[in-house]
Amino acid sequence: MTIMESRWEGNLEELRGLVSDRAMTGETMVLNMGPQHPSTHGVLRLMLELDGETIINCVPDIGYLHTGIEKNMEAKKYEQAITMTDRTDYLNPMGNNFAFCLAIEKLIDLDVPIRAQYLRVILAELTRINSHLVWLGTHALDIGAMSVFLYCFREREKLLDIFEIVSGQRMMSTYFRPGGLWRDVPDEFEPAVRDFLGYFPAKIDDYEKLLSNNPLWLDRTQGIGFISTEDAIRLGCSGPTLRGSDVNWDIRKALPYSSYDHFEFDVPLGKHGDVYDRYVIRMEEMRQSLHIVQQALDRLPGGPTRSNNRKYVPPPRAELGQSMEAVIHHFKLWTEGFRPPKGEVYVRLESPRGELGCFLASDGSPRPWRVRFRTPSFVHLSVLPHMSQGYMIADLVGIIGSIDIVLGDCDR
């Protein structure tokens, strides 16, 4: 392949409209940040306009991780396409599976057994803790607290072990399937989760001891990256970023899916809409997730973990030796795939970052006609200029960390 010249040979005139007029006269400085930068959480590039150390404007340049996942999914059968969803938001793989499976289930009106719903809730909440641990580790690392990173990743290994128990893979599990789960959880699953439930709460306290009253942490986070309630709603924030500005909107509560309404949990809210409040909310969310997992595990019903609808769900292996019909279904589903009815659906769920939506359009063929993800990182990145204007350049990494963007989620 030919390599394009990466050096920018344009002039300031090309940036007119993106930067203020003061930049044209050289009064303010235009500075590039990224795409290779340790604190941009991936390959984000920002064009900063600075007056001294104060940020006048920041223009995100995305697409450095555009993978064409949505387009690739159109070329795959529905079951195959699930593997692609793992790789969009790679800190929340089970959540992406979840959104896509919910969309397929809504499209074909497929039932999901209650045991599968509960297991999905358990795994989605563990994934949320997993994602928040990576967020906390990297966010603290950006602001200068080195040791938190090591502790967070130590705990994260325990979660990855649980994912490996159920699916055989640490990160890209593809464990959720239309109509339920790939298979029932093995016997080691419940003791491993209970072990984690007993182990983890004290660790959250440890993190808070390191950070919450640390004067350096408070100086770097309080009153930084402020966004008002009105602006947060107007600009389409969701998840902890929205709740940090005192808006009580959690899709698990507001529009419950997959029996989230069976569980008791609180939605933590912030008052000030700054980086510190978003930090407090995510810490509390980890506790609430543990609480949900505890309830779901205690009340975990027995029964099947996948729907019995043979038109969409392949028969279990044991049936193949006894039933001709099972053989036919097996053959049809694994060669041709299933054909959902024509139609369009949109589902949304609460990902660790905010509202994750999945739009699915079907033309009746075994492959999706169009898949689109509404991802929280993309929306939050568009709010970043609003949040960072007027703050110091050193605060920017804290603000980027507080909206918890994942570039894979943003660019797809």
Partner: protein
């Protein structure tokens, strides 16, 4: 280090220059802090407490290419990112090595489409490929140890 002989108890060892230099290079390799996608998270796991890359003298990740001698391409390389990656590689001082971590960096992985470079070896020379989507930290460590073995084979005539 290929120890050739030891002179009594005078505390002197003799060895070849090549072996000493290669020993130094393998035990203090500074990787560039450069993550692209999912594999970067596993690279961070490898760096963290459980797998502890400092056992291999690699705890110091440099965010600047000018201070690093190992590039771990962790994740999918898009066509938009490819020139940046090449520029970073060019900015690294010799001697330098590249590990292609994961299926996407090695061959495009599951993304055979318009956006992804089908293997990072199209733009930079790769020394070690690590398979997996994403590879486990043990696999990455195996790749690093393989690279060490390779470096130990290098001879002075190759350096020029």
């Amino acid at each position: 280090m290929g120890l050739t002989s030891k002179l009594g108890n005078m505390g002197i060892v003799t060895t070849r220059l090549e072996d000493t230099v290669n020993w130094g290079r393998t035990n203090a390799m500074w990787p560039m802090l450069f993550g692209l996608a999912c594999c970067a998270i596993e690279m961070m796991s490898t760096q963290a407490a459980n797998y502890d890359l400092s056992r291999f003298g690699m705890e110091l990740m440099r965010p600047s290419p000018r201070q690093s001698d190992l590039m771990i391409v962790a994740g999918r390389v898009t066509r938009k990112m490819a020139p940046v990656l090449r520029q970073l590689y060019d900015q690294m001082p010799e001697p330098k090595w590249v590990i292609s971590m994961g299926d996407c960096a090695s061959c495009g992985g599951v993304f055979n489409n318009y956006a992804i470079v089908q293997g990072v070896d199209e733009i930079v020379p790769v020394d070690v490929y690590v398979a997996g989507c994403p590879p486990r930290p043990e696999q990455l460590i195996h790749g690093i140890v393989t690279l060490h073995e390779r470096i130990k084979q290098e001879r002075i005539v190759d350096w020029a």
